[in-house]
Assembly symmetry: C2
Homo-oligomer: 408 residues x 2
């Protein structure tokens, strides 16, 4: 595009800043700026692709990082294409090695996609969202088309994908069909004539395949925008259902509130950047308020209120806040505790507090016990050598932090 | 099969010896013996697969090594399946890197297959030959079937194929679709329920894929029989049209005769083993005759006669012999010279004689010149330092050996 670059207007600069907020990488920024400029001058919205694997339809806040970015781009006038990968999910894992990927029936795919879509629409603007199923063109490829598609990419480039490199080196089997899946995902971009594809940082390789294939097919290449993976409530690992550190978007307002209030003050800023729709200027203002003496708790409350309003309502957010404050005042155990699982029974109380995210360090855990602030099932703990057998306990630290902890 | 092995009859032992004659490898011999035994007791012929790439329909003696083995197995009562790989040859090389593999039209495939089949039937028994086209099942696979097929094999095992290993290590591109071709060839064996697949030693990897896939699909595994690649008339490289060291099966009787008489006495035994239908006992008898004083030339004449009879007629073979003998007697330059190409103009006469196969070594070439036995275009050569510019020359060594040599 360098030969005939359109000069960028102030609006395009602003749109570019919105697109880049919180992102990990935008490839290629200069090309994307040109796409934005062209869209502005022609009035033709950009086509922004989001691929969805319809095997696990439950959305947590980690998934919404990308959805939020989609929404921001929709608000700039662009079209989101919600691409449902039904072709591969109705095949499942044909090698049979991955028992967690059974083939889905077309009905299951439709049900899962609907569940996902209903949830996603708490974030997305339905009037600027197209839904497509990739079986539409993947089945039409046929066996000849599949060979022709596979001829567009080399084994060496495929091997550059991080997980393939590692598995090949460690002699963990890679089935040949696994090389076809990134190509099919890239072929979706060709069929959709996508201008931009979004994904988590772990999707970068696959998103780049789309760029390459569009070039092979003589199209203008899509840009790619990767978003960081949201860290879970434990402040350590990426948010994931299997890690128990997630906040589901259909959880009750009280549960969301409790979990959001339990995150560290540091993690709060990452959540503001990736989950809040407040502008970066507003967020900078909040940082300034804390420096001027505002309690970080109040800023965390504002974040929890914004998110609960999005997924429930402003009223539910207010009720959750009142409920939370009542607990502080009356020292009651709240009804709706965050549930946390930890391993290693019998587990020492200090380690348990740390692993459950109720203390940030061993010394903080020790200090809380010394100050008489730790209770297990209502009993104050004085013995720092206490080990808990497998079972479920209500653990309280100070007046505010509660969790239902299952020791395995 | 080990749990219920059928004892082998004398007939099965004989059949096994015929199958193994001249072969490079039979995998797995014990299983093949059981297949032969079962076929004998049930009267059900074995299904023997020969894959044919219908891009180059002209057959030379090198190709007939495998065809001869097929014929021997037909004579034992088994069925040959002549499998025409039209599916892949109508795709060509979709990566566009190999310009020598343009996609063929279905008509070109049919024409080439017919040409090949007509020639092959000079060796094969038509009444025990089935012809099949693999597009029959490969097109039916569809894109889903292709993915399922690809899931049956790992990248690591595919990389074990010698040429893939070398190309990957030397950074020579391998397109992903090249991993699909051996799988399709193996899938042909599944569809054909082949008992045995034949090929050159260079096909061993692909033939083994067929064994693996049959197992994956719950079938009894085919055995594989690889035949060595026939060395060309130069005694050095494998017979190949591009090397100019070949004998085409549609060449004239005189040309065949001349070329066969030009091979070395050592190479003659390899040709006897791989090209003659004489029994191994008869061939041992011929060796004995030479030890007892018979001129090797007479044994070579017998080989030439057998081969010309197969591809022309007994009468043509006799005429070629008479013509050849007349040339010896009268010192005439024969009409129908073998044509040989050599590179490296200007080329020294000694090197030319060796490379053209007119002398087995430098010392033999030197000796022939010293004895006044070498003529170029009729002129006796005395200067061993003579270098020949690019061009075509009639070169004669002694009374019997003539060739039209093109120096490039």
């Amino acid at each position: 595009m360098s030969s005939s670059e359109t000069p960028l207007t102030a609006e395009v600069h602003t749109a570019l800043e919105i697109a880049k907020r919180g992102c990990d990488e935008l490839i290629v920024e200069r090309d994307f700026a040109q796409k934005l400029a062209r869209s502005q001058s022609t009035g033709q919205p950009l086509r922004i692709k989001l691929g969805l694997d319809p095997t696990a339809p439950d959305i947590h806040l980690g998934h919404t990082v990308v959805l939020n970015k989609m929404r921001q781009l929709q608000d700039l006038g662009h079209t989101v294409i919600f691409l449902i990968g039904d072709f591969t999910s109705t095949i499942g894992d044909p090698s049979g090695r991955n028992s967690t990927r059974p083939p889905l029936t077309p009905e299951q795919v439709k049900d899962n996609a609907k569940t996902y879509y209903d949830q996603a629409h708490l974030v997305l603007d339905p009037s600027r969202t197209e839904v497509r199923y990739n079986s539409e063109w993947c089945d039409q490829l046929g066996s000849r088309g599949m060979i022709q598609l596979a001829s567009r990419y080399t084994v060496a480039r495929m091997m550059e994908r991080d997980d393939f490199t590692k598995r090949f080196q460690s002699h963990t089997p890679i089935s040949v069909h696994e090389f076809l899946y990134p190509l099919l995902q890239g072929y979706d971009s060709v069929q959709l004539k996508a201008d931009l594809e979004l994904g988590g940082t772990d999707q970068k390789f696959n998103l780049l395949v789309g760029r390459e294939l569009q070039k092979e097919y003589g199209q203008e290449q899509q840009c790619i925008l990767t978003m960081p993976l949201l860290v879970g409530t434990d402040g350590v690992e990426k948010m994931s259902k299997s890690k128990g550190n997630y906040i589901g978007i259909t959880e009750s307002a009280n549960s969301m509130f409790g979990k959001l209030m339990s995150i560290s003050d540091t993690l709060m800023w990452s959540y503001y950047e990736l989950l809040s729709f407040k502008s970066l200027d507003e967020i900078a203002g909040l940082r300034q308020q804390i420096e001027n003496g505002t309690n970080p708790r109040d800023v965390k409350v504002a974040l929890a209120q914004e998110i609960i309003t999005r997924f429930h309502s402003a009223q539910a957010a207010d009720e959750a806040l009142r409920d939370f404050e009542a607990r502080f005042r009356h020292g009651e155990i709240p009804q709706d505790l965050p549930e946390i699982s930890v391993n290693g029974a019998p587990l020492g109380i200090v380690k348990l507090l740390r692993e459950a995210g109720l203390a940030q360090s061993n010394s903080e855990a020790n200090r809380s016990i010394d100050q008489g602030g730790v209770r297990v099932d209502g009993t104050r703990i004085e013995d720092k050598g206490l080990a808990l057998e497998a079972g479920t306990y209500v653990v309280q630290v100070g007046k505010r932090r509660f969790a239902k902890v299952t020791v395995n």
